[in-house]
Amino acid sequence: MGPVFAGVLQLLALIGALAIIHVPLGNYMAKVYSSDKHWGVEKWIYKGIGANPDTEMRWTAYLRGVLAFSAVGVLFLYLLQRLQGVLPGSLGFSSIDPDQAFNTAVSFVTNTNWQSYYGEQAMGHVVQTAGLAVQNFVSAAVGIAVAVALVRGFARSRSGELGNFWADMVRGVTRILLPLAFVAAIVLVACGAIQNFSGIHEVGQFMGGSQEWNGGAVASQEAIKELGTNGGGYFNANSAHPFENPTPFTNLFEIFLLLAIPFSLPRTFGVLVGSVKQGYAILATMATIWVAFIGLMWWTEFAHRAPAFEIAGASMEGKEVRFGIGASSIFAVSTTLTSTGAVDSFHSSYTGLGGGITLLGMMLGEIAPGGVGSGLYGILIMAIIAVFIAGLMVGRTPEYLGKKIGTREIKLAACYILVTPALVLVLTAAAMALPTPANSMTNGGAHGFSEILYAYTSASNNNGSAFAGLNADTQWFNSTLGIAMLLGRFVPMVFVLALAGSLGEQKPVPVTAGTLRTEKPLFTGLLVGAILIITGLTYFPALALGPLAEGLA
């Protein structure tokens, strides 16, 4: 069997597993967010918070909850890193510098997990488990909560009430993320991922002498890092590190974990709006783009067109033997089409066009299938744009799921899709125009430009993967990337929640013969087209200067 065929079989296995899980998991999540019963442990948590989980919130109150909780999260994580030097269980590592601590705190709270530090030599047990891993859970839960609020906006009528933020966020942790992560962590340990608190210890070597290893709670963090589409690795090499991702099976399992919730949320959406067919149209859009991107990635990575790889005979630089090119390509596409950003191979050493595919995946807004929650609300915004375009073509007031897409709605959707491109392009241009940021580049020419474009694309879209040749631990990059992550996460959320409020207040319009049938394949085609055209028009010039110039040279 050749490596291409083995890659195809791995993709088919993945599709099969996702096809099996998405209905029960999607239905379960719909139940979680519509149940009016509270678990015992949740009641205890609400008592601790001092919030009544049954209070309905309008969009402004919901947003205030999101922002307050996230602001506290940033501050807490910042202080934890600044105080690391005096905390117990820190392995003797010193406190993190202010600019890097800010960057890292923002990075984990925004579900980005960009890392400008070396995991194994900077962060001790306390920061890793009680700081970073906690945000892996709660930032994911916040993302799902905001998506659910938008879905409620579609599902409810004549009421601007979107649910209770505290209840949604807590349930996301207790009923979805925690149980799944627990099972996944045990599976990973059973396959060889480490889980201990041995800290820094010496291990003998074959040739004599010894090596120093940093042991920690890796499997428990790895599980939620993939499941919550976070992506921040315990070790610098992330999921390429054998202690995070020991075998070919764990590799496929980790890809499955990072796709499981995003690919199940369309089902949740379908159930909550009362038409699973609407969910299938969204799911089909996501799956089409995801499979097409993997096909493109295989084509360019197996063809290995780049001077160094022509000599080597294959594009194995930055890839592990146990995964090979086929599975590494699936991981790279999946991690950049979600907001995960974990890597099992290093994107900077992909072929020019392969690197471009990872960039384009993020530029689509991470909606195929996207991050947990953020993928669903991102693609629903695109659906509104697509419905609007279709409405313009036939001269009818556009509507989606029985709600009119009027001036207010389309303004909010348009603002949403302008935020990240503005951040990416302005900050990339600023970094290129200034004299010092370019000193951080490892590679020259078009690839050097790609390193910087990739950094801002990854930060603004809350992905977190990198063309890691870029030395991002400078005050310029720590601060500007931190700002990009903050604005790229929370400004779109403002528009999403405002939109949810606006939709929820409307009364439904009846379906007529003239209504665009958004559950049909025609609409899926329209949506795929709208996504590609809007992204293409926005980013083509930048892509032409970077990956296209490198790949077509």
Partner: protein, 222 residues
């Protein structure tokens, strides 16, 4: 005004309490519970899959090592010890910078692009070295026979494996260096070649540390 300040303070207080409670659940109880189960049920794996030879720990079966000769005086880059099977280049490993109190293994990739002149040179040099080191009396390696994993660095810098092709290519050299019959070394490699999981997951591979431990035993016996 006063009212909104109070409200904001109350909201931030709720946020802080929520964070602290969830830190207890997901940042303390969860990792400790997983650690408890992991240490109880999968003790060796949870601690890094260490393997022993002659009663001593010689590393982890999951991570790659260097099989180099000791540095000679004035030498900066160590030479491979050709008696042992060699793993992949490790150009991506980092050097300790922040916490110089430790000599930690720092994982990482080179992050060089396919058109990077430095990477092109590394690949060329590695290829020439593989051809030279493995061409022995009666067996000449052609540059086109050198597999890609032999001349490129991995993503972690700690790849424990090489491709079966690269292992096969080293067989004649290992046999000559250790005074063993070629057939016996080839048999050893074949025994340590692992196919794809379930026939289709990942790529075929040979674990270099396990292979070298078996080789050491074979040498000791003969």
């Amino acid at each position: 005004m006063n009212n909104s300040v109070t409200n904001t303070a109350r909201l931030l207080g709720a946020g802080l309490r929520a964070l602290l409670v969830l830190t207890l659940v997901t940042g303390v109880i969860y990792p400790l519970a997983v650690t408890g189960i992991a240490q109880g049920l999968f003790n060796n794996k949870a601690n890094g899959s260490e393997i022993r030879a002659d009663g001593k720990v010689v590393g982890s079966s999951l991570t790659g090592q260097a099989y180099h000769l000791p540095l000679k005086k004035g030498q900066e880059t160590p030479e491979p010890d050709l008696k042992w099977f060699q793993g992949r280049p490790q150009n991506g490993l980092g050097t300790n910078s922040v916490n110089t109190q430790y000599k930690l293994i720092l994982s990482g990739a080179t992050n060089r692009s396919g058109d990077n002149p430095e990477l092109i040179q590394w690949v060329k040099d590695a290829k020439a070295a593989v051809v030279k080191d493995n061409s022995v009396l009666g067996y000449t390696v052609k540059p086109s026979e050198v597999p890609a994993d032999a001349v490129t660095s991995s993503g972690s810098g700690l790849d424990p494996d090489i491709s079966p092709q690269y292992a096969d290519l080293q067989v004649h050299r290992i046999a000559e260096q250790n005074g063993l019959p070629v057939a016996e070394v080839q048999k050893l490699v074949d025994e340590h070649t692992e196919g794809r999981t379930l026939g289709f997951i990942g790529e075929p591979r040979v674990n270099v540390l396990e292979l070298n431990i078996a080789l050491k035993e074979l040498v000791a016996k003969s």
